[in-house]
Symmetry: C2
Subunit: 706 residues, 2 copies
């Protein structure tokens, strides 16, 4: 029964809907095999696992499970950490324990004293909780619980959300309301949302959160705020989530009353040591610092003639005694270097390889520019064998339609992770750099810029929840297929009905290519309107920094369009391994999806499908629009499988996406047409508005414009 008022609340439950299992034979199998539950231990974490099992069973199977204190009879679910297990069971699982790491879990059907049981275990309680959530996912996706034999470990150490949340609760690039962190009511008021946030993250294996914006405010490091951070850390701890903060490099001046923030200055070094000690006194498992330094106006070591290594290592020394880490961002580009922004992070950071302390990890965006609908993988991946590199994905859709466009990002993430850097020969994928297997890094990690806000449904768009979910799953296992992720998510969030799953999974999988097509096909990039990045703005050319202008990126002229990064251009291709550089450098071998990223190409250039570049470009824009129209048609048929509210929400949002896809197509083609001087192909719908109209659009209060 869905009531009037309660209906707004399904979204809130994310992928933990625990819908009633409607398939009778599956429900029977579950009930037959899960007659009792034995939970071992009594830590906060174990109590959470127990409560979760109780909720899951009640909601999915409408049974209140029998919780037992010891193992009698058969068909029990037994959950507990390795040390809490019966000695015989422990011995029997030894080879499984050998397979998993400290955060891994085992879910296994065993016969113990001639009785069938299912064991969920791991080396500590949080690992058990991961196992419990994974077991509940088996039920949510209606998979069999017979003969279970799972031993699964996360492939990275740091699976972390980056919240670009400001202390006034605005969220830079946030499109789902405002920050979850209600600093005014902290530390004394622990909002239920903090708990529900931690629970959702734990359910997908996320184990860290950076609470504050990389464009940082030093106040977060004052006692007034650290008391509040401590309260959040306490709330998250039982869910296995560590808290991290962004460190404003000039904090010693701003809140420490020092005259300098020079990382070689003894007083500065001491200030950070004391500050770290102060933090760890409150939060013994504090994760460490994330730093954006000397980038887009943020202060950093270069203000004092020092370099990124000096800055990072100074902070690393401060947190090292407490096992803290420093995540130092490689997202840098200089306004004084007009040559090619795409080259600058590599140029600056690659020479530092091997110079960072061992508790520093360099955080690199997936591409060399900035979270575009499509970018070739960042050339730093694989190019710093002696330095742990952390992937930075953007889950929030800064350049991908805010929270009104359905874009399934795991498809994008997968494309990046599967990219072959060739830095250690064929098969040197980005995933292997990130999970540390290529160069045997000690610390590994994946960060995602969160798309979470205080909207009732957390992420603004119901399908944006899938991007949070998918990020977590890929951080756990960078080799997961995005189709598997979509499948799991749909079943856990909506329905197990194949008539719903198949078509909707299909539109999810295609949605990423659709947004590329209607925004930036064939390797175009960063032609969004200025500042807020909402909607098209290929004409913008008046910003103070040249590399903030869309015209800098598309370079359209009478001769053609695209950024020449080949050897004859900026030679950005040379930052890749020779095999890759050669591929990108050659117009013939360069993948067409990256064509205009690497080449300035004549309007008459013949694409592989025989179309001229102009026609092909126009047809791609039209294809993007058509793909959204198809998404709408598919969605319309799902009404009978899901609740009315989410059906209607997505319907409204797809209508916006369709409108905006046409806006992108028309504005970009009218603008580029000025240079190509050519007619649109017949298959492309004629624009209804003029270019002047599109140029006149202003969005003074677009959200997320930090």
């Amino acid at each position: 029964m869905i009531s009037v008022s309660a209906s707004a609340q399904r979204d809130y439950k994310l992928w933990l809907q625990y819908n009633s299992v409607t398939n009778a034979s599956i429900a029977k199998e579950y009930k037959d095999n899960l007659k009792g539950i034995v939970v071992l231990g009594n830590s906060e974490t174990i109590k959470i696992a127990e409560k979760e099992l109780k909720t899951g069973f009640q909601e999915m199977l409408a049974v209140i499970p029998e919780f037992k204190s010891e193992i009698k009879r058969e068909n029990n679910l037994i959950a507990g950490s390795q040390s809490s297990l019966n000695a015989e069971i422990k011995r029997r699982l030894q080879s499984d324990f050998d397979k998993i790491n400290n955060e891994g879990f085992i879910i296994k059907s065993i016969s113990f004293q001639n009785k069938k049981q299912i064991i969920i275990t791991g080396k500590n309680d949080v690992a058990v909780l991961y196992g419990v959530f994974n077991f509940l996912r088996i039920l949510q996706t209606n998979k069999s619980v017979k003969n279970l034999n799972i031993a699964d470990s996360p492939k990275t150490n740091i699976r972390i959300l980056n919240h670009w949340d400001n202390l006034d609760r605005t969220v830079e690039r946030g499109y789902a309301g405002f920050s979850l962190w209600n600093w005014q009511k902290l530390p004394d008021f622990i909002d239920q949302r903090y708990i529900d946030y931690a629970r959702a993250n734990a359910s997908i294996g996320i184990n860290g959160t950076v609470l504050t914006n990389v464009n940082a405010n030093a106040l977060i490091l004052t006692p007034q705020y650290l008391e509040k951070v401590e309260a959040l850390a306490n709330a998250f701890r039982p869910y296995g989530i560590k808290v991290y903060l962004t460190a404003r490099f000039s904090a010693p001046i701003e809140i420490g009353k020092l005259k300098t923030a020079d990382p070689k200055d003894p007083e500065v070094i001491n200030w950070w040591k004391n500050k770290s000690a102060e933090i760890y006194k409150r939060i013994p498992d504090f994760g460490g610092f994330l730093v954006k330094a000397n980038s887009e106006g943020q202060p950093g070591p270069q203000n004092y003639g020092r370099d990124h290594v000096d800055g990072a290592n100074m902070l690393a020394d401060a947190v090292a005694p407490f096992n803290g880490i420093v995540m130092w961002r490689a997202f840098v580009y200089s306004e004084h270097d007009a040559n090619d922004r795409a080259k600058q992070a590599y140029a600056e950071f690659q020479p530092y390889d091997g110079k960072f302390k061992e508790n520093v990890i360099v955080q690199v965006k997936n591409g060399a520019i900035d979270f575009q609908p499509r970018e070739p993988f960042h050339p730093l991946f694989g190019a710093m064998p002696k330095t742990p590199l952390m992937m930075e994905f953007q889950i929030t859709q800064e350049y991908l339609g805010f929270s009104t466009h359905l874009v399934f990002l795991p498809k994008l993430f997968q494309e990046v992770l599967e990219s072959d850097t060739y830095q250690k020969g064929k098969g040197s994928t980005v995933a292997k750099v990130v999970d540390g297997t290529l160069f045997q890094n000690k610390i590994t990690g994946i960060a995602g810029v969160a798309n979470i806000g205080n909207d009732l449904n957390w992420t603004g768009h119901p399908f944006a929840q899938a991007n949070w979910y998918g990020f977590g799953r890929l951080a756990w296992n960078p080799y997961l297929d995005s189709e598997v992720i979509a499948d799991e998510w749909l079943r856990s969030t909506f329905s197990n009905d194949e008539n719903f799953i198949k078509p909707v999974k299909n539109i999810m999988i295609k949605s990423r290519e659709a947004v590329v097509n209607y925004m930036t096909p064939l390797g175009l990039h960063h032609i969004m309107d200025t500042g807020h990045h909402y909607g098209p703005g290929p004409w913008v050319s008046n910003l103070s920094r040249p590399e903030w202008n869309p015209t800098y990126y598309h370079k359209a002229d009478k001769n053609g369009i695209g950024f020449d990064r080949s050897k004859s251009g900026t030679n950005a291709v040379s930052q890749y391994a020779p095999e890759v550089a050669k591929l990108f450098d050659n117009l013939e071998t360069c993948p067409e999806k990256d064509l205009l990223w690497f080449h300035h190409v004549s309007w008459d250039y013949k694409l592989k499908n025989g179309q001229t570049l102009w026609n092909g470009l126009a047809l791609k824009y039209q294809e993007g629009v058509n793909q959204v129209e198809n998404m709408q048609n598919v969605w319309k048929k799902t009404e009978k499988y899901i609740d009315a509210e989410r059906f209607h929400e997505v319907e409204m949002l797809l209508e916006i996406q369709y409108k905006e896809a046409k806006w992108w197509r028309d504005a970009c083609l009218l603008y580029f047409q000025q240079f190509s001087g050519k007619e649109l192909p017949a298959e492309v719908e004629k624009p209804i508005q003029t270019l002047e109209y599109f140029k006149s659009l202003k969005f003074p209060f677009a959200p997320g414009n930090g």
Copy 2:
């Protein structure tokens, strides 16, 4: 069954919990008397009424009611407007219809063709919806449905929320998150919250909403935003809620490209006429404008040498053809008049009596300063017999502890409404001014500055929902007793268990006096910290405008404390009717609750209880703290009657309130002690911190600081 994740969601349902009726005999009575439902009509509004009845019956009685298309057998609930009723029933109810106004409703048990039926009706569909919500309140509060005979009408025409919401979604004086209005996603995305907001308002009879801040932005009047306003108006219309906007007086310049906003300028007059026509073309039932002019920096007619009458009448003419109204605020005070801010609104507006067009209503705050924990009623009430005056209450707790203090405001509202102005002899209460019965005004209204934001629970504090609820109930009937309101609200929101109701109602009723005691006892006012108004700041004396300084209001010195507004002082008392002026003017007859509002009183002055003023003041502060402690003790015993989450939320919030009550007590007493030079009485706890500590506290990101 309360699940882990769903638990965060009870708050969202406000006073429409529709809890299962657990008293078996009452449930039986309901089921016996409500066997079928006949809903007449098929407007959007009637469909909403039908859905609401369905939801209510399902959730409270666990029955899916039988909806019938015609009246057969007995014990039906028949809901429909007058015109939809069977002729015989209509005739039988004629005397009831004569008793109600256009928005009133009838709920009546009748015998029709020898069959018992219950009728819910009114003169239009929205009135029927009001009747339905009132009927459901009868069930929610477990009252009998036998022999019903209710004919109830709202006593005011305009029952309206004022949202001080900015276009960037910050909310001036908002403590419950951010604005509900997601302008970026409007008009195409209609958030379920808009519907749920309208529903909650309709359930208490609120019929209007001003979407935007009185500190206005002209952009709301541009087509880009009017399209969004139209979408909200469409969403609210079936719930009987009209949309209003704030009109920035300088809009003709800012968005109209005119050189002036002079209300006598023909181009300006024409601009507003055209703008009004443009708005009404989109929104035929647009309510009108709310204007803050020449107040706290807002532009207004005085910028052009005109007065408030000129400004209001010009706008009134623009909306008159469409039956629109102008709500013109009397909240004005000049920085150039250092004498007494409390006198200025009266001094400026009273002479305008009778000069406003008939579709202008002057909106007056309940007191002459600004929404303090306690103020004497505003002297304008009763003083403008030829002008409709609208009450402006503040539901959001700007000066009353933000959203962490439990303060039941209907008690404050009632005190104001019951105040006797004596302007037409004894019994000339503020309520009679506001509902128009004293001077037979054509339009009447009550406005409440909303405390609603996008927090999951709407209002930040679970008990702040009671202030929204109580405001609506008092706007409908300004003579309602706040205890009745508390009773209704508690039953509809939490439980009908007397063991819960009695003690909790008691702390609600006492909560307003508690906040007065620990913040501003004995007539003290406006001694909050500067800007954000969070916490005590009696020492602040350095603001640019004298009347923004707390020292201006308390005037503490060696001789005593208080603002002398008697005849020998600023003579503000003379703005009241002679009977009231005399009462306030005389130190002996002035109510002690207003003592320091009207008099500068010696520290040694003997209060009625025999204490010196200093000791009495200190004891009041302590009493406030003790009252909060008592609230905590009462609350702790309620755990078994309500859900764990809301119990725990309120428990945490009361702990903050207790902390802050002590902060207020200690900071104020330490500060005032500098002047009195006296010891604290033994009953008063000694401060743990120093005055310097309290003065050093800074809250750079306090919410709501517009």
